[in-house]
Amino acid sequence: MPPITHLTSPAILLALDDIDTDQIIPARFLKTTERQGLGRHLFADWRYAADGTSLPGFILNAPSSAGRRILVAGRNFGCGSSREHAPWALADCGFQAVIAPSFADIFRNNALKNGLVPVQLSPGSHDALVRQLTERPDEELHLNIAKSRLDAFGASHSFPLAPFARHCLLEGIDQLGYLLGAQHEIARYEAGHPAAFCTTS
């Protein structure tokens, strides 16, 4: 995962609450065995008509949305299915951060594993940001990962990021590599818990 330290981009505003991962990427696109190429299915049922043409009313289809790296969504973003295809699709579309008042737990984990920053703002800051973006949708937002700060419309908001998550984003740390580094401890744990209550084979 490539490191990310700063991000400056205008945002795409999709401030609906409880956007579930079935909306982010419908299940029929989960038959792939790849991680790449899912961006074209992002929000597929909101983005395309039955015949596959783009629906002009959907924000992602607006010409001005192209190249934007920040999504501003509503509360409980990414609820529902644990599919990592959701952050894969967002990342494949170029998104590097999602700003919301809260995130579903599994989505947050999955996003962090893919260098997609979950920026959780207080409801008050989020409301203000949504209002400001409604008036000035092309304003650039600035994220500073090391400081866990979002600067927007002249205000600076801090957002929570666990120290380990921040470290992994900044350094591009691969968490499986980190776990593999603990193999001795894992072996010791297993030796202390010698037989399984179950064996599947």
Binding site: D18, T33, G74, C79, S81, R83, E84, T199
Partner: protein, 494 residues
């Protein structure tokens, strides 16, 4: 498959142990957590948590196995890993054959990929032909793999189902599936705990599904965020294992990280004699350990909620998330002009999608399809409940009823009892096991605009097929609705 070996947990959790007398009382979640710490969390790093059982299915595993291949590493504990095929699998046999007919080439390729990965990495697989195959959350318990005090994960959010046995069980993403395949561990932070106590007796026609739908309606789809829910109280104790699984299954729909129920006699007697459950001396040792997995008196939860079971009625969803659920006797809520404009817009959007009018009674709403299945409600007891309603009745002529057992084992048992014959005689379709119309990946799906009563767990837009409209309900309500051709209160069919 070999038989199982058992040893006591290294650290006894026995409450009466004098050396532990000073220890603050712990919740069930704390006990499981503490017993699985390879490395405790610090201010800067998450805990490394050991995983006892890893369940794998075709949709969320391919990229994880691929990751291991790229790194040239193996599966650390294939003996703690088991794979099945359920999400994109067909529920119909090929015409004139005894073979299942996979819906499309992409699904077939995904199934082949799992077969190849499991063979190469030595992971046991219950493939399409295997008699033990079924929905991952149905077969884990059925095989006796799911046991009290365990940590259980799967690349699937409804892993919370296994919490019914007093296990800490939760869904993970595919990167984490790779973590567990490679190291049998996960990086995790200690969850907060929430007690949901359900006291009192459920009325006739009111089921475990109604309990959990009522809870979600009350706390909302984000109400459990960051928490593991422990279900307690006399109404939970009175539920059989299948009912407890239904309740734990939908914990994720309240946003919770997991849900669980402390084990008791109901749990032990359900487990005894199952294929992977301990036997003989090992059983007694295991039992002593399992009995320690309950919250200590005085243990503190971060939050609690009390529900009076005697006030509950059959519940049905009306909107596009499981929190949008009302009693079956109620009317579809109207957007409240004084409420937050965002909430109002959310409700208006949901009603538009669902094609419902604020103020209409939900009972009596016409339905086109009834789906009885999914890891929430596809076990033998669910099918018996539905068959009890269908026996001697006919499905309304305009309704398509699809009954999909949760596993091949459930299917065989149901057939031995003649439940398939009852479903067919009523005019319903009886299928092979799988996720089927719960997720609509295998060709079993709603057509745009169709209304369905479904015993599954998600009524999200398009979940059961693009443009399909889902009403979540219990198997009793689903069967009653199939007969009536419209959403019907099962208590009205005496």
């Amino acid at each position: 498959m070999s038989s199982l070996s058992t040893t006591p947990a290294e650290t006894p959790n026995v409450d009466s142990d004098a050396s532990l007398a000073d220890r603050p009382p712990r919740t069930l979640v704390d006990k499981i957590w503490d017993a699985h710490l390879v490395r405790d969390e610090t201010a800067d790093t998450p805990a490394i948590l050991y995983v006892d059982l890893h369940l794998v299915h075709e949709v969320t595993s391919a990229q994880a196995f691929h990751e291991l291949r790229q790194r040239r590493i193996g599966v650390r504990r294939p003996d703690r890993t088991i794979a099945t095929m359920d999400h994109s699998t067909p529920t119909l046999l090929a015409p004139g054959k005894r073979r299942l007919q996979v819906a499309d080439s992409q699904a077939a390729a995904q199934l082949d990929t799992l077969e190849r990965h499991c063979a190469d990495f030595g992971v046991p697989l219950l493939n399409l032909e295997h008699p033990g195959r079924g929905i991952v959350h149905v077969i884990g318990p059925e095989l006796g793999l799911t046991q009290p005090g365990m940590t259980i994960v799967c690349g699937d959010s409804h892993t919370s189902t296994h919490g019914a046995f007093g296990a800490l069980a939760f869904g993970i993403g595919t990167s984490e599936v790779a973590d567990v395949l490679a190291t049998q561990c996960l990086l995790q932070s200690r969850p907060r705990t929430m007690e949901v106590r359900v006291d009192g007796a459920l009325g006739a026609g009111v089921t475990a599904k109604d309990v959990v739908l009522a809870m979600i309606a009350q706390i909302g789809v984000a109400g459990g965020q960051g928490h593991v829910i422990e279900y307690t109280g006399s109404a939970i104790r009175a539920l059989d294992m299948e009912g407890r699984m239904t309740v734990c299954n939908m914990s994720i729909e309240a946003g919770a990280r997991a849900g669980l129920v402390a084990p008791d006699e109901t749990t032990y007697s359900w487990l005894m004699g199952r294929r992977h459950a301990p036997t003989g001396e090992a059983w007694s040792v295991a039992l002593a350990d399992w009995q320690s997995y309950r919250s200590d008196p005085g243990a503190c939860y971060d939050r609690s909620l009390v529900i009076d079971a005697s006030t509950l009625v059959p519940m049905v969803s009306y909107g596009t998330n499981p929190g949008m659920t009302i009693p079956i006797s109620a009317t579809v809520p109207a957007p409240d002009p004084s409420s937050d404009p965002k909430d109002r817009a959310h409700l208006e959007q949901a009603l538009r999608y669902m094609g419902l009018t604020a103020g209409q009674r939900i009972a009596g709403q016409r339905v086109d399809v009834v789906f009885i299945g999914s890891c929430t409600n596809s076990r033998l007891g669910d099918l018996r409940a539905a068959a009890g309603v269908l026996a001697g009745r006919r499905v309304a002529p305009h309704v398509r009823l699809l009954v999909v057992p949760g596993s091949q084992d459930v299917k065989r048992q149901a057939e031995a009892e003649g439940l398939d014959a009852i479903v067919r005689a009523a005019g319903g379709e009886w299928r092979e096991s799988g996720c089927s119309m719960c997720i609509a990946m295998n060709g079993d799906q709603l057509q745009p605009g169709q209304f369905a009563v479904s015993t599954s767990n998600r009524n999200f837009e398009g979940r059961q097929g693009k443009g399909g409209r889902t009403f979540l309900a219990s198997p009793l309500t689903a069967a009653a609705s199939a007969v009536a051709g419209a959403i019907a209160d099962p208590r009205s069919l005496a």
